[in-house]
Symmetry: C2
Subunit: 151 residues, 2 copies
Amino acid sequence: MRARDSSYHTRCFRCSVCGRQLVPGDEFTLRDKQLLCVADCVLLMDKPSSPPQFHCVGAPQMMGVLKQAERGTRVRTVLSEKQLLTLRTCYSVNPRPDALMKEQLVEMTGLHPRVIRVWFQNKRCKDKKKSILTKQQNHNNKTVGFSVNFF
Amino acid sequence: MRARDSSYHTRCFRCSVCGRQLVPGDEFTLRDKQLLCVADCVLLMDKPSSPPQFHCVGAPQMMGVLKQAERGTRVRTVLSEKQLLTLRTCYSVNPRPDALMKEQLVEMTGLHPRVIRVWFQNKRCKDKKKSILTKQQNHNNKTVGFSVNFF
DNA sequence: GGCTAATAAGCTGTAAAAAA
DNA sequence: TTTTTTACAGCTTATTAGCC
């Protein structure tokens, strides 16, 4: 989607109502050439439209889902210590929170649901790798064994 | 997103240029209130806009990604015998085609890339289940064995 | 009702931003 | 630079739901 060398300001990807910056994975909508997040789109559903207010003209008056390629660079969330503490605490109790628990985490941290999900996935993966590594080391420390299977 | 009881024609979810019907999972764009598929959106990127031509007014002048809930009912592709033949033939040679091969299948069948991917996924899964089942049966037919592991 | 396409959630490997 | 950590794409498995 970088066709025709059109480029645009990253910071212009904001909901024109609440001002929240839209990142890849977010759903957005267009109404009279104004970007809206889904929440505000619903709120404004039957309100009269106001005049367009776009900075980035050559840019996405379009697009369904924001993706990395369209944004140019991947957006990497930097988690605060407080957010990490919340996530780690939850993880230590339950490494696989259900939908309801995740919803609570979204509220507590203010993070995007997708970020929560990915964080837990990565965390589980890291833990698994680590446990496999230490298991191998344990195995190496022991005497060499053998295995027989009769069938 | 069914708020405010707005409903709309399923058949109106079409690219206003190529006429292709947009299904859940598809990305679409809005340009001057006309639905466009991504391909045509790129093509029209610097062309002047034409007047709006919407059937379904109360409807999705919005939405980023089409989802099942928004469409109301799930869209199920019905594969023709010819398409199935193509897919099965490819599968018998290589059950895990790479991106290039899938691209060729898209051209040969006219199916959406996502449909191709899902078909292969389901096919692999089905085959695996079947092989496990027959293996168990084989096992049951043989004499009972035992297994010893020394470490 | 059976078959199977579509969806959802988790896992794996890898890309890429941030940190060390 | 190298390491760590977040994001993503494709996969597996289980479940849901549309046609015949």
